[in-house]
């Protein structure tokens, strides 16, 4: 679908845990062809200190109901303000933006790794792959069990594994300490990841080393989201590329990691 400035209706705003909220937005116009990795740039109303829109990955889409779901993690003033929005409120957003992950083939052995707010596109991708069906392993990392969101709705799409820094759920440590990553990585022929920069860099470098296809979704700060401000550039092997339009998904081999 064409990039559009849409006045969405906030249907649902549900707190999932301390910092994570699920927002369901309904579009007044039909929604079509939305893929994991794409994002939306949301206006934060009634906050004079917040001038720019805030980008969020798409968690899910329902074409029939014309809704999209977002996982909003409170990271700063903008995301906090958005989680305070009331159901029934209009929310302006520019949608859809960015390029998606390369969708896997049927026989691919896939590892999806999500951390922090980067869990959203990984869950969306697990659903798309799981419906295919493809062999999907999903590895999700968080600080503690209370920071993990409930993924039971997605568990039929793949094999879900968890890490926590305090060991309260799954294996203790970072996602890169999990045995599926340390011992079994070569079982996979495609790795997709979204999360904190350091996490993605660590995963990306390992994938390059082991010669495994790997795509990452970057979160560089942006103003517009549609390729005109040139602020969100990533210094790639082919020069500065806009994360918003050339990405946010990049193959690690194209980056200077």
């Amino acid at each position: 679908m064409k990039k559009t400035v849409i006045d969405f209706l906030l249907l649902e705003n549900k707190q999932l845990n301390k910092d994570n909220f699920l927002l369901v937005l309904q579009s007044p116009i039909p929604v079509s062809d939305i893929f994991p990795g794409q994002f939306i740039n949301v206006e934060i109303k009634e906050a004079t200190e917040i001038f720019l829109r805030r980008p969020f990955s798409i968690l899910d889409v329902d074409y029939e109901k014309q809704t999209i779901s977002l996982l909003v993690k409170i990271l700063g003033r903008g995301s906090r303000k958005l989680t305070e929005a009331h159901e029934g409120q209009k929310i302006s957003a520019i949608f859809p933006l960015g390029k998606s992950f390369t969708l896997p083939d049927k026989n691919d052995q896939i590892l999806l790794i999500g951390g922090g707010s980067g869990v959203a596109p990984m869950l969306f991708l697990s659903k798309i792959c799981g419906l295919n069906p493809t062999n999907v392993t999903v590895l999700i990392g968080a600080r503690s069990s209370s920071d993990h969101i409930d993924v039971s709705a997605y568990q039929s799409y793949g094999n879900f594994l968890f890490t926590t820094e305090d060991g309260s759920l799954g294996e203790k440590g970072y996602v890169t300490n999990h045995q599926v990553f340390t011992d079994k990585l070569t079982q996979f022929n495609k790795i997709y990841t979204c999360g904190p920069d350091l996490m993605m860099k660590s995963i990306g470098r390992t994938a390059i080393e082991k010669n495994i296809f790997c795509e990452v979704s970057l979160e560089n700060m942006m103003a517009c989201g549609f390729g005109v401000c040139l602020c969100c550039v990533e210094d790639t092997k082919a020069g500065h590329k806009c994360v918003c339009t050339d990405g946010p998904v990049f193959n690690v081999n194209d980056l200077k990691w």
Binding site: E43, M221, A223, C224, F226, C231, D235, H240
Partner: protein, 303 residues
């Protein structure tokens, strides 16, 4: 029906609403959002003779009611523009104006000569006010002799409409405007961004890779309005106003202060349909105030 048409030099514009350089790419990037032929004009991304990678990331900082940028004229150079972009956009049915940049006077002249060949580029905006490049850019625009020298050199090789984009980072913008008018500029556009900076208190580091950057958005609107008014009163050539215009009321204020046309810049990042909203809002305002021609608004400030 109200008449929105205005004239800059010998160029007729269907309305006074243009999009500002560096905020709308080459027009194509915002074509999904509305019919570009509705615009009075599009000032395309700052172009240089050779490819420029621009400054390192991070290049942007959000500020109260605005933002800082330090993009540094990232563009693929004039050959790429002429060969790849111009053929795609030349028939957009709105005035296409190229924003021209250089590190030396020779650069400005060589670039202008190339653009002079293009039939569907009826005007250039000579950028002597970019604050984000190490050489040239704003250096030319902050003193009368250097501004005069570059405009004089470009005027010699360019017969079409020559707009000069002025920097607000000067003691007297009216003096600079008079200087470039004296060398044959057909119009001045103002203001470019104001030099600013942002600091991260936690890390004690600058937010921008270049330490300083250009401030834009509603935060600079009162300064831009003041400068448009001062320049309008100092020169005879038409003034194109910009700086924090977010809606039709802002645009009207600029015209009352003396702008013959306005440019929408940073607002496009928030909502790329704002220029169309401004055109509609301007018509409604004129109907409400029984103004037949938008020209009646220009410089109509009642002191």
């Amino acid at each position: 029906m109200v008449d929105l048409g205005i004239k800059i030099h010998n160029l007729d514009f269907k309305n006074p609403v243009l999009t500002a350089s560096g905020t709308c790419g080459f027009g194509e990037e915002i074509a999904d959002f509305f019919d570009l032929s509705l615009l009075g004009g599009i000032v395309v991304k700052g172009t240089t003779l050779k490819h420029r990678e621009g400054n390192a990331y991070p290049r942007m900082a959000e500020t109260p009611s605005g933002m800082l940028n330090a993009v540094g004229l990232q563009n693929k150079g004039v050959d790429n523009f002429i060969n790849n972009i111009y053929p795609r956009i030349k028939d957009l049915n709105t005035h296409l104006i190229v924003n021209v940049n250089g590190s030396t006077i020779e650069d400005y002249v060589a670039l202008t000569e190339r653009l002079n060949e293009l039939d569907k580029i009826p005007a250039i905006e000579l950028n002597i006010s970019c604050p984000n490049v190490k050489e040239g850019g704003m250096a030319f625009g902050i003193s009368c002799p250097s501004a005069e020298a570059v405009v004089k050199a470009v005027r010699k090789v360019y017969s079409k409409t020559l707009i000069v984009k002025l920097s607000p980072n000067v003691t007297s913008i009216a003096e600079i405007a008079k200087a470039v008018e004296g060398q044959g500029a057909d119009s001045v556009s103002l203001i470019n961004t104001m030099l600013g900076m942002a600091v991260n208190a936690e890390t004690r580091k600058p937010v921008l890779s270049t330490i300083t950057g250009g401030l834009s958005g509603p935060a600079i609107k009162p300064i831009a309005l003041r400068m448009v008014w001062q320049v309008y009163n100092a020169v005879k050539i038409p003034v194109i106003g910009m700086g924090g215009i977010m809606n039709a009321t802002d645009a009207i204020e600029f015209m009352i202060a003396g702008a013959s046309a306005i440019q929408v810049g940073t607002a496009l990042f928030i909502d790329p349909t704002i220029p169309v909203q401004i055109i509609d809002g301007l018509s409604q305002y004129m109907e409400r105030h029984k103004i037949q021609s938008v020209n009646e608004l220009i410089g109509s400030l009642q002191c």
